[in-house]
Subunit: 271 residues, 2 copies
Amino acid sequence: MADTGWSSCARSLKGVILDMCGVLYDSGEGDGVAIPGSIEAVRKLKASDLKLRFCTNETQASRDKFVAKLQRLGFDISVEEVFSPAPAAVAVLKQRGLRPHLLVHDALLPEFASVDKSDPNCVVIGDAADNFSYQNLNEAFRVLIGLEKPVLFSLGRGKYYKEMDGLSLDVGVYMKALEYATDVEAEVIGKPATSFFQSVLNDMVLQSHEVMMIGDDLVNDVGGAQQCGMKGVQVRTGKYRPSDEKHPTVAADGTVDDLAQAVDMILSQRC
Amino acid sequence: MADTGWSSCARSLKGVILDMCGVLYDSGEGDGVAIPGSIEAVRKLKASDLKLRFCTNETQASRDKFVAKLQRLGFDISVEEVFSPAPAAVAVLKQRGLRPHLLVHDALLPEFASVDKSDPNCVVIGDAADNFSYQNLNEAFRVLIGLEKPVLFSLGRGKYYKEMDGLSLDVGVYMKALEYATDVEAEVIGKPATSFFQSVLNDMVLQSHEVMMIGDDLVNDVGGAQQCGMKGVQVRTGKYRPSDEKHPTVAADGTVDDLAQAVDMILSQRC
């Protein structure tokens, strides 16, 4: 790898935040598959003096079910360590007294069980995958265009993610579609929103310069973390593409082959 | 209506171009319904000394079938008078030696019968309606992202249109979705592309300042025609919304209740 000096800052690190899909595992049929070395890398981080959190834009499952899947794959992860957009969205909705029309994956619906969904006055979209039918997108559009003050929440703004059979469109694509149709700018809940990263830092009781984010998404993981004041390192797994290393606006603090290499470099600087 | 002076220019007019859906008829179940007075308005224009053409972004049917529907509704229209995006797209594809992956309405497929669609090296999207499933959009995305030089054609860039049961998302929304996913800018074939309006003017053998466009879409009909040097008049039927009259960037040369009123005003100036 090209070490651009990021690992030397590992000495002053107090915490690490890991993206999940594309860093820990590749999604696909069933539970997907763990990326080689990543289970052991998480174990090493947990055995170190670094604080560790996981930060995902996963919205195809409730957080409980999602963590259970990672546990089945062999990862030592608990629900309390995982930050995902749906619980954050529920908090925002309740705080602002908003009643959502939901366009999300069926498996995400339990996260919103406690939210009043009658007579909707906003729209929430997640990575709905096959639920992004023409009819469902049109229904969300009609709700928005019928509101005096339309409010659209998007659980992330990713373009696509990697599944075992190829790349798949993510929620950001449908966010752009609804933004164009309605002339409304979506409020993003999840990465790369600074408020989302900040809530993870608050939970770690750390300052942003003390923490490194490791992800496969250059814009949403690396760029989002950098906007927040953290170091951002990209792995060459998951949705990584070689063109990321020549991106016009976002440059990672480092690029590594995979999580195992990143963790070995971080920990070797701390001995 | 607020006559902003446009009808006084009617004396120098030599031709009129009419949008179809939302001006002549409202679409919906079956053939849809003619807008009151529009059949007679077309008859009056044809009886005048003005040249008349029809210009639509309709891509849910082949031009033949579409014109047959209008004839069933009672309009005096022939295929040669109607300009629609699919025949224009076929010409562009053949000219540039491109083989399309099509994401269009099933009923539009016959228009592309003469085009080589093997081993696609571009994507063409139209108003595919229910064919805009997640799976189909993802397939188009995968074709584009797999091309060394991705080319995306969009048959129009409309946001939505009015059906009898409410507003429905148009092709432009899915164009924006694919543009965001792939970082490719679509080439628009149809309104508001200047090349499309120009092909209609060429067929009329008229200069742009001699022609008026009448449509219900402020941006794509009125704004597109004005960009091309024509007068653009909006009707308060179809997808018209009162907020159009306060649009930040496009101001119609005139706004009328419906086509019947527009035609009566034009013809009264010519007596």
